[in-house]
């Protein structure tokens, strides 16, 4: 009888303790995986024919062209 009472008390205590538990309410978002079609690199086309260096050179030239201090006064 005493054993039964102790067991019942243990189960009740576990139940009460579990009720006091708290889960984190902050959701952690996980980045998913892209599900769409694969894209090619911008240099993989008829114009650059896979030449990454040529593409980077073309873009860099355009990039530096935005600096009108260099463009107008020559430096």
């Amino acid at each position: 009888m005493r054993t039964l009472l102790v067991m019942a008390a243990a189960v009740a205590l576990a139940g009460v303790a579990a009720g006091c538990g708290e889960k984190s309410s902050v959701t952690v978002y996980k980045q998913g995986q892209y599900q769409g079609k694969p894209d090619k690199q911008p240099w993989d086309n008829d114009q650059f024919k896979g030449d990454k260096a040529a593409w980077e050179k073309a873009v860099k030239s355009r990039n530096l062209g935005q600096n009108e201090y260099v463009r107008v006064s020559g430096g």
Binding site: Y34, Q35, G36, R62, N63
Partner: protein, 207 residues
Amino acid sequence: MARMKFLCDAERCIECNGCVTACKQEHEVPWGVNRRRVVTLNDGVPGEKSISVACMHCSDAPCMAVCPVDCFYKTSEGVVLHDKDLCIGCGYCFYACPFGAPQFPQDGAFGLRGKMDKCTFCAGGPEPDFSAAEFRKYGRNRLAEGKLPACAEMCSTKALLGGDGDVIANIYRNRVLKRGKGSEVWGWGTAYGKPAQQPAAQPGAKS
């Protein structure tokens, strides 16, 4: 090559909306969709400031994080793009974006919302480069032509810079040092040191 970025110089932007027009014309963007727009603070008040805003191609893009169908991807140049064939037009990306970049075309008598449309950094989409499908869905792919975004390249005052982040940061830094002002707007101290490092503004100096 570093990441592709936009940078808008509030000291130079004159709110001409040329960038907005260039974008709409280049990509034949439909009515009601503005991939880029000009925002003006204190409009009409002397000293008003304008900046041109579009997708900032975030390094840790919130739109990518919230998309339930994972239709976003990031290119090796750091450009955030998406696949319109997967997009369900839910609008979560619009709520998540701090810049209001995702746009939704509306059509029909009841204003049905279409698939999301946004700035592509003129890099097209996952369709084959220069194809009709790519142009129809995402607009022209200038990056694959070795060119930079139309908005930045045609900006008449060069307020809007676009391209390799390192290069445009250098252009902007040199510009601010030469004119002696404008650094306070964009957290110059955080990026380059204390504002005291910049020379004092010359009397009558122009932007």
